[in-house]
Amino acid sequence: MNNSVEIKNLDLEFGTVKVLQNLNLDIGAGEFLVLLGSSGCGKSTLLNCIAGLLDVSAGQIHIKGTNVTWAEPSERGIGMVFQSYALYPQMTVEGNLSFGLKNAGLAKTEIAARIKRAAEILQIEPLLKRKPAALSGGQRQRVAIGRALVRDVDVFLFDEPLSNLDAKLRADLRVEIKRLHQNLKNTMIYVTHDQIEAMTLADRIAIMRDGKIMQLGSPDEIYGRPINKYVAGFIGSPSMNFLEGELSDGLFEVGGVSIPMAGYEFASTATTSGGATLGIRPEHVVTGELVVNAPFQTDVTIDLIEPTGSDTLVDCEFAGGRFRVRMDGQAKVSVGDTIRLGIDPARASLFDRDTELRL
């Protein structure tokens, strides 16, 4: 594979705090990679290292085959979009877009041409003469993207670019960014802690925790075959149900219930018994007429109902623990009802109780 960004054995320390530890990551040309993780796990730090805004403690960064570990941010062929937009407040939109180009010593005609093109793509032509203070949040974010766009670089870095916007605008701009990527075919590294953004935008997602990459894979892989319990719980909303029990001879036993694991694809053939955690996503539990086809069926009593419009989330007790089920929004259920659930082990995940790794 033709790699655009390669990160090798990267360490970063702030004094004694180790934020990134021996991080390795290869990003293909034209790939859309999303860095996803909880707050403080080092996503922004990694992005700043790639941009050259932080000096790394150890390791190398290559961009387009060149070792840029010691290069200045402006020499790396990257454009960056910040969470707070970071537009220069005293310059007009046009000034903001042209600042970097002027610093690079480009000809006036070239600058004008690039600004025109970026403004057309982002539809900010009417705003060019305004100051950032006179723009709405969405417009500011567009200008911030434009500032990266005019630089005509191979790698775009986005640090939570949409998190300051309201839900509607976020959804709109998300689509725009996806379209932008389809048209430009640049490499994009995108930091977020919104998993919808991650799932919809990414070619591959890297789940980070405590400065390490837990799992790197396509959205499907991450969602369907999470490598450990942390990733499983982190991805998906509402989050996965976990049942603590014992695995023996293809039978998962929890709170007096036995669930046959026939159909489950074990990651390795080595372990088939011992303490384990079974993870089942609320949307993978079937109800109603579909239950008859499910390999495992059980009756539960509804404790709590959360209607969200499109779906109805149902809370119940199952095998001595809390269990959430996603039902259709049209389902007619009320608290105290007994409903029949069906579970398909093929769509569930099993984790070792101690190592929390996928079995």
Partner: protein, 301 residues
Amino acid sequence: MADVTRYALTGPQGPKPRRTFSRRNIFLYGTLIMVALYYALPLYVMVVTSMKGMPEIRLGNVFSPPVEVTFAPWVKAWSEACTGLTCDGLSTGFWNSVRITIPSVIASIAIASVNGYALANWKFKGADVFFTILIFGAFIPYQVMLYPIVIMLREMGLYGSLTGLVIVHTIFGMPILTLLFRNYFTSLPEELFKAARVDGAGFWGIYFRIMLPMSVPIFTVAVILQVTGIWNDFLFGVVYTRPDSYPMTVALNNIVNSTQGVKEYNVNMAATIITGLVPLTIYFVSGKLFVRGIAAGAVKG
């Protein structure tokens, strides 16, 4: 469209009524008026006295307005009053002060703002040590350093000259100004600085193109601090200059404290007001900016 309904409301509604003469208001305004009087009265006495002739002053009615308004004391204070041997009033001192204040203010602010910017944004090696030393410098009493600086200036051949005094003022303004600028620049969003670096701007490019235009409030604060501080300085002026280059404050002192002849209170009052006029003007002109600047430095944004 929703129906427009008006209910008949009883009980408390709308803005809460406030009494003009509540106990709180009386106390508040009473205190404010007292304090204002306390500060305004001496000024009033000075202005009134400076416009009276000596015979009128001898009558002893300090608070009464002048019967015969005269500006002769002002003229005398400016151009004729005697300081020791020479008799050319405050004018020489005034121009000396101008020649001291302007370069000192410009030099100290220029250097301190760059220092503060470097400390806030470019984490160079030894930055913390440098900053600690600066903070420490802000707390050393001036008196301790008076004599060592005399020797240093003498060795450099600058003792007694205006240049020497300008250097002293610039150095002594450094700790507090650097602190002021560092804190202001630290409060500016860091991502702006990062964006400018990605855009390829260097140390000076970022300073002049990004930081300076956003720092008008803090520069105003610094100018006010320095102009008033340096204009009002007496100690350095009297120690590091010679009589022909004494700043205005020293000249004022020499006029007021001259022992020859009778004490001309009206001239003294006029001379004092003239000397105070520069800082006073600065306050009036930039009062609003000053307050805004202090708030801008303290609170983010």
